[in-house]
């Protein structure tokens, strides 16, 4: 098992390399020019001379392969360059903003798990009765509603009408409520629906009927025979939601003026801050791959069958 984990971690490197190359090429092949954004933000008229000057200062006038190799060499030494936008080292900026995003994402993940499990169980346990209908209505809404729209509705309700919660910023517990909810609702809804569906599917299996026929108590039937099998898709989905939560943070942080990497990355994209986009994509790739690894490890732990496959691979 340990060997397997180590192998997966080592595999991270070529993937990161591939991603960095791909992102670099995509960024630089487009017809976009960060020099224009720099001049626009600086309120300097974009004359040919001014553009050439900035391109030179940013190193954009050198051949592409040279730019990439320079970047790669520095990146291997954990130097991801200077942000075009803030003039500060990219890694410093990202690490400065990361804790705020981890706080938001972590709480949203916790919220997703804490709410989706009881809701899914409730809906499956009382299938076709009112708890099921209620859960399905709420989760249907949650799956369908774009998070930014929800965010504005929440602000309108809790900040403007009721005046209970501050509409933006970071610092107090109250400021966490709305962003966390806005990010978590969709994952929570998907998970709850998924858990409900897989519970129902598992409870219809023959071995469950057999377990009941053996006279096992209903509690034990659910715990050992239904839940155990129903967990698997849920775990996969949760792993995938981590990416979704970070993606949600991109938009939500901007709306709630939350000082996190998401908002930082959005402004980098809008202003073609290439070094930040490069580093951010790598960070995200690494994060997602580690999450996938965690999911696979959980899988192996939950399902002996996949452990055998993993070992033979």
């Amino acid at each position: 098992m340990l060997r397997y984990i180590l192998l997966r971690l080592v595999l991270l490197l070529p993937v990161m390399f591939g991603v960095s190359l791909l992102v670099f090429v995509l960024l630089h092949l487009g017809s976009t020019d960060p020099a224009l954004d720099y001049l626009r933000l600086s309120h300097i008229p974009p004359t040919d001379a001014a553009i050439a000057e900035v391109r030179h200062a940013l190193g954009l006038d050198r051949p592409l392969y040279e730019q990439y190799l320079t970047w790669l060499w520095k990146a291997l030494h954990l130097d991801f360059g200077i942000s075009y936008l803030t003039g500060r080292p990219v890694l410093d900026d990202l690490l400065y903003y990361l804790p705020a995003t981890l706080q938001l994402g972590g709480l949203a993940l916790a919220c997703t798990l804490l709410l989706s499990i009881p809701l899914g169980l409730m809906a499956a346990r009382w299938q076709g009765r009112w708890p099921d209908h209620a859960v399905r209505a709420v989760t249907f809404l949650g799956v369908s509603m774009p998070n930014f729209w929800l965010a504005f509705l929440l602000i309108a309700l809790f900040s403007l009408w009721l005046g209970w919660l501050p509409p933006l910023g970071r610092g107090t517990a109250g400021q966490l409520v709305m962003p966390v909810l806005a990010i978590a609702l969709m994952s929570m809804s998907i998970n709850a629906r998924l858990l409900r569906a897989s519970l129902l599917e598992a409870s219809g299996q023959r071995h469950v009927t057999y377990a009941r026929a053996r006279g096992l108590p209903e509690r034990q039937v659910w715990r050992d025979h239904v839940l155990r099998n129903a967990w698997l898709p849920f775990v996969t989905a949760t792993g995938m939601h981590v990416g979704e939560l970070i993606g949600g943070a991109l938009v939500i942080e901007t709306i709630f003026a939350w000082p996190g990497v998401g908002r930082f990355a959005v402004s980098a994209v809008l202003n073609r801050d290439f070094p930040v986009m490069q580093c951010f994509t790598l960070l995200l790739t690494g994060l997602l791959m580690v999450c996938n690894l965690l999911v696979d490890v959980c899988y192996a732990w939950l399902d002996p069958r996949s452990r055998l496959e993993g070992a033979s691979a």
């Binding site: 976009t32 933000l41 504005f152």
Partner: protein
């Protein structure tokens, strides 16, 4: 409490992005200040004298001014700042004065002399700009801004806020507010909600702080609002060197066929004043009584007809000698505003038989098309105060600017460029006004531009702010002139 999309930056007096101009203008001051009338008034310099040949500017500095760290502002400090700009000429050369300035002298404590290579009349205008020709204390570390202005930055938290407090050593009138808290809020909708929830008290600026629709909604909800005088012009340039727009009759007809007021009412929520000329009349040298093109589609049709652009029976588009009257309008695809404006123009001009081919492009491609003159019509807003008219007109001389490319088909283009060169070097006020009159009249009569509206700054405030004022340029927000609601 105010808000801005990003932090104020390190606030280097000569720094560009990420240094934010509103904040640099709070901390650093110029020798002379740009006024709402488009003139300059004494500021850190109380008097100045321009030599007969227009090459030497001698300033008398205001006595008793100190930087916020207590060091005196004198000619030595001033010279050190300007020398720092000259030491980095390459970086600042976009400003014509920087490439024109030969050297700076400080003959005595309160006298500063600027020696130019050749006469350049907008010298004072450019000295008034927010950067790079303002003054910071000489020995300061980066990130610790020390200026002579009414405010100093007390605290900055990355991604959250910048807090400014009054400069206790300020030489001028004390600002009415004790401090200005600037929160970092990137999203315009969130900014509006923050105002409604009381998290910010003032939204003001000319950079799309909130959309026109949001502005109107807040106004209707009873918030006190204000609009500034015109600061720049939304306009399209027409290519005189290519396609159907080579024909003066077509360009004039376009000016007559577009119902600008309807566009303003429908798309700009009626907020911006209609523009009939390239520069608003409050801009320097621009109040020359140009006769606006009236909105008169019938007249436009007739003019096209007599210029040979005939409408075949049943055809929607006019043509002349087999060439259809079709014009390519290039706009920035990511700009919702340009897209709506372009679509309405397409509709308006279709009514007189002109076909507009819409071409949405990405920003890099847009600049390339401007440079290569690869357009029929293109959005080419003026640069606004304090660059209008001199810097904007100056740029018309250089290939690579949309304006140059648009004008190159004019028979009179060479003379225009020569006159622009002359006006910038002119030392005589009357002559200068005459040259400008010629340049602006020619551009107007040749219908090179289709001005739509004048860009203004907006301001929305909560009742805790009693009085607001607008800056005289696109870039400054004069917090020191604002007052809080009086407690009774």
């Amino acid at each position: 409490m105010y808000s801005w999309p990003v932090n104020a930056g390190p606030l280097d007096p000569r720094g560009y992005s990420p240094n934010q101009m509103y904040a640099q203008a709070m901390v650093y001051e110029p020798l002379v200040r740009y006024t709402h009338a488009g003139t300059v008034e004494p500021w850190l310099a109380t008097r100045w004298y321009v030599s007969e040949d227009g090459k030497t500017y001698t300033f008398t500095l205001r006595d008793g001014v100190r930087f916020s760290d207590g060091t005196p502002f004198d000619s030595t400090a001033a010279k050190a700042n300007l020398d720092a700009v000259l030491a980095n000429r390459q970086r600042h050369r976009w400003m014509e004065l920087v490439s024109t300035l030969e050297h700076v002298e400080a003959p005595d404590r309160l006298t500063l002399r600027l020696v130019l290579k050749h006469p350049y009349y907008p010298t004072l205008m450019e000295l008034a700009q927010v950067r790079p020709l303002r003054f910071g204390a000489v020995d300061t570390k980066p990130g610790q801004p020390v200026g002579t202005g009414p405010w100093m930055r007390a605290e900055s938290r990355l991604g959250e806020f910048d807090r400014f407090v009054r400069n206790p050593l300020y030489w001028g009138p004390k600002p009415a507010f004790d401090e200005v808290m600037v929160k970092v809020i990137p999203d315009p909708n969130s900014r509006a909600l923050a105002l409604q929830a009381g998290e910010v008290e003032l939204i003001q600026g000319a950079a799309g702080e909130i959309t026109a629709g949001t502005f109107v909604r807040l106004r209707d909800q009873g918030y006190a609002t204000a609009l500034s005088a015109p600061l720049a012009t939304r306009t399209l340039a027409m290519n005189t060197g290519r396609g159907a727009t080579r024909d003066l009759a077509v360009r004039q007809a376009i000016n007559e066929a577009v119902n600008k007021q309807a566009i303003i009412d429908k798309i700009l929520y009626g907020l911006e004043p209609r523009a009939d000329t390239l520069f608003a009349r409050n801009m320097p040298y621009a109040d020359i009584g140009l006769k606006p093109y009236p909105y008169d589609p019938a007249q436009a049709k007739q003019a096209l007809e007599s210029a040979g652009w005939a409408l075949a029976p049943g055809a929607p588009v006019r043509s002349k000698g087999g060439e259809p009257l079709s014009i390519e309008l290039v706009f920035l695809g990511t700009s919702a505003l340009q897209k709506s404006l372009a679509e309405v123009l397409q509709g308006e001009l279709a009514k007189v038989g002109i076909h507009i081919e819409l071409r949405a492009v990405e920003e890099g491609a847009l600049v390339r098309r401007q440079r290569d003159g690869d357009f029929g019509m293109i959005f080419a807003d003026t640069w606004g105060a304090p660059y209008d008219p001199h810097s904007f007109v100056s740029s018309m001389r250089y290939a690579g600017h949309a304006d140059y490319m648009a004008q190159r088909g004019l028979a009179i283009k060479n003379e225009l460029d020569q006159r622009i060169g002359k006006v910038l070097a002119s030392t005589d006020e009357k002559q200068r006004a005459e040259q400008y009159r010629f340049i602006l009249t020619t551009l107007h009569e040749q219908a090179v531009y289709l001005p739509i509206s004048h860009l203004t700054a907006i301001s929305v405030r909560r009742s805790s702010v009693e009085h607001v004022e607008f800056g005289s340029t696109l870039f400054d927000v004069p917090f020191e002139a604002m007052t809080p609601k009086q407690e009774h």
